[in-house]
Symmetry: D2
Subunit: 314 residues, 4 copies
């Protein structure tokens, strides 16, 4: 107990996101208190020039977060990204001119199948999007493998990013800003299927041990570092395990998730558990906010970009 009183959140018409987060910080309890703490910890990471590792699980790009990711990279809020094959595919697909459509979460899926629509909760993809993906990714793979045939996923995504022309692609922005994008389970996606098709009559080896190598070099060199983890899965674990052989654990970690610890998977594990493994420091600043990243990540980034607040330090 810090002896502070719970001050109640005050709403004002026309208030800014940063002001609302400050109000939640004044209250300081329950999930709202955690969210305000996450903004504070993020600001402290940035102030201390920590290397920020961002984990992006699920299909958050299809969920509307593509430009928030782009903006976070552009504004130097992120130094390393680990993500899923899904997010890579959805970003590239839009970079190639495709689009996600707004649909219904409970629809007749057999009917959608007949209409040639693939559903991601309530985001819909037309069959033509996958054809567009194939038409564009195959020539890119051909061009890139002229130089190199054996690559990490991070290297491959950098090469792809440098060849995209869509300013709103987070993969392009990351490549241009020198932010590596790891997708250790890249094969577990439509990208993986396309890469396999390509490898049927071309030489291409996705050598994922090179991803381990490149990640460790970054983790090893990052004396002061923090993790911002959206959801669980491979992105969360790959970020945390990078510190298993590094001399300094994470000093900061923020986790936004709907997952829970009881079933024992790493996805829902507390950040405290990572202390026992030496992945985060014994005195690290940690916060978990239980909630949906499509809402909370935009609030977090808007809060961080809103700048440091005097009130949040009360």
């Amino acid at each position: 107990m810090n002896g502070k009183k719970v001050k109640h959140v005050e709403i004002k018409p026309g208030m800014k996101v940063r002001e609302l987060v400050d109000e939640m910080g004044k209250a300081g309890v329950f999930s709202a208190g955690r969210l305000a703490e996450a903004v504070d910890i993020y600001l402290e990471m940035l102030d201390s020039d920590a290397t920020v590792f961002l984990g992006v699980s699920g299909a958050l790009v299809a969920g509307g977060l593509r430009q928030v990711l782009c903006e976070a990279i552009a504004k130097d809020l992120v130094d390393v990204i680990v993500t899923t094959g899904a997010n890579v595919v959805h970003d590239l697909l839009e970079a190639f001119g495709g689009r996600h459509l707004r649909g219904e979460p409970f629809f007749d899926d057999a009917k959608l199948r007949k209409q040639g629509i693939s559903r991601i909760y309530d985001a819909y993809l037309e069959q033509s999007a996958f054809e567009l993906f194939e038409d564009n990714i195959q020539p890119l793979l051909l061009e890139i493998t002229k130089q190199e045939k054996r690559m990490s996923t991070a290297k491959l995504l950098r090469e792809i990013g440098l060849r995209l022309h869509d300013d709103n692609s987070f993969i392009r922005m990351a490549a241009r800003k020198g932010v590596p994008v790891f997708a250790p389970a890249l094969i577990d996606s439509v990208f993986g299927l396309q890469a396999w098709l390509f490898s049927q009559d071309h030489e291409l080896v996705l050598d994922v041990l090179l991803d381990v190598k490149e990640m460790f070099e970054i983790a090893h060199g990052a004396e002061n570092s923090g993790a911002v983890i959206l959801g669980g899965g491979v992105p969360k674990n790959f970020i945390l395990q990078s510190k298993l052989m590094a001399p300094t654990p994470f000093k900061y970690a923020i986790q936004i998730t709907m997952d829970r610890p009881e079933h024992g998977g790493l996805s829902g594990a507390t950040l405290e558990e990572a202390k026992s493994w030496g992945k985060v420091a014994p005195d690290a600043k940690l916060v978990t906010v239980i909630g949906d990243a499509t809402i909370l990540f935009p609030v977090l980034i808007a809060g961080v970009l809103g700048g440091r607040s005097v009130k949040s330090k009360i």
Copy 2:
């Protein structure tokens, strides 16, 4: 499928809450899309002069939402409230000069017990707060029962509210604005214990069938009505069942919850299920946002007070 493209959320430094909600509405998918939809539905309720029933479960007052509730009542966003004994106790306790303190969610509870502190997740209450509560509620009950000895919870809370002097009390604000506050399970709280103590040597009957009566009169008269439900429990069910014998079901309903339908309880039930009971209209505008009310209710209210947006209608 409405054929609309998922536009990606754009973050700008210094952006307003209302602008962020608009961005989520442009994306329109996953939980962020639902939250923007909730703001739209709430605005439509207000535009159409619907009678708004607000359900407030759990201990949201201890969680920092006391003034948001107060503001929502003051700004005419709410016409009827149904809540828990906990929220009544926590509001009164602060009105009597007590306070909630900020603590830790995982603390040694046996040690807290020795220190005389009662924990509500990470909000702490000192033993003195309960003494203060007793010292204030007993004379109030005495005064009120001089006039009437048999009351609904709504009637009792109105009488109490009119006798409070704290501008930030939602019970006082509701009483002054003529907004009834029902707490059908009021006895299931420290208030219940105090009322029972009082009834040991005074006459007091909490006649909850009167609550049913008063609620039905309101529900019956409200031709155009909507429900805004935070969490589940008795508040959710009591609001919905009020329409079982009323001629017109709810035309609008918003639900913010972390609970789910699979275990079959009403708390986690979909709003669609309420159609089968005739509690909401077959063509009602319904939205469920999965998330924590301490974060989402302030965003909802700030969004609503931010006014109608042109962009959200795109």
Copy 3:
């Protein structure tokens, strides 16, 4: 750490529920370990002749647990019950000759409405069931109020139970075994609506302060006591708060729930939190199993009735 090795669960064709629980107990970790621990704690409660308070939230009777409840009462596994209006209604409805039907969890609810079917997740109730309920409950209320007009919910449910003729009714079994059934929010159900209708032209006062009184007398007298809590809501809180003014807190508590602590409501609160309030003893044996009661409660009861196992003590 108790230094015990995680032994792996072994499955044998034809194995008994009790044997499976023993295997989970040998493993001793994650949720399966918790479930085995719950069986052990329940057996210890019974061995020590503890007064067992059972909380039954939601609509578990509609979910198929009616006879498990009945059996638990018949076999002296339960001494006091606190439940919801829903469970009371669903039990009585079947006692009056009605039935729940098996349906679909995602169906067109507007269509169900037209067919006169009310949905509880995937359990369906025909309109005729409610007419049957009305036809039976009104004469019962008339008969009972000839003797007494002002009652606690526990008293009213006992009087009703004694007049039922269905061996599978848990309310009847409880009445016959002298197990009180409290439903502090009884008005928050179709029963409440019927009671209110009755009270329009008859005298009936549901005096819930009498429920507080009767509950406290039990809690006060139960020096050695334990709680078994299925879900949250009023049943959980009413059981726990009964110890706020009693000399001895609960020595044992088992909680089976899908709810979580982060949103601060009592429904999802840890049992440890109850220590800070003095509701459970500092050294109480506590276990929370995260899961659905329609699966876990039958396993728990089958495990308990399977008797004490040597293996579970390894």
Copy 4:
């Protein structure tokens, strides 16, 4: 609505797991009904000689399910496995003579770190276990890479499995029974770190495009197939996507998970969603049971091994 009545679960002392599942099937509603349906679908898969794909996410081996997996393979209930690096590491670690210990889910993790203990919820691993792992895996990698230096994860795990001597290892059992074990994100684990260390001075390429190839050959050839999915993550997605280019989708699918669809990730997606992608057939038999696999998977397997029940067909 199928017009069937909800019959209530009956508990008998000494009842078998299969009998309890039958009782749940008679009730047929809520989560218990789903679990009984899962047993029925699994039996139907086996009766029809379907190729069964089992997805095992998280750390279920550390959670006590190692021998259940082994038994399921031995009894021909499974034809293909997709799992996480964690489950591979935990299985091998025990095969090498290591052990998991039973601990506490909320312990001082900084203290555990000092004691050299790594925590997986409430399963603990001593530092010596990782040394044992290294001492055993390095010589195995050396031996295996003498024959082949570029392998899929499935090929590598088969080679390792054939060289193990622990009858309780699921990787060994799978290798002996000809059941391939894919771990597409194998590098995302302590195994990945060891493989990377090995690759520093030896030649080893984990060519995950070969995993795609091998998986597709199986999926392509399996005209009649079903999926049993424990948790989400890469195991779930890799199984489902295997059907994207296969001529016949899954005819059966069972999912046991605590994850939910709203955040849009594939982990929590409904099985119905997979119809829109053509991963499961429009008329596939599908069931999702919300719950913890450490409890539900043993019940499922014990139910399946308990044989076909007449009652479950009522």
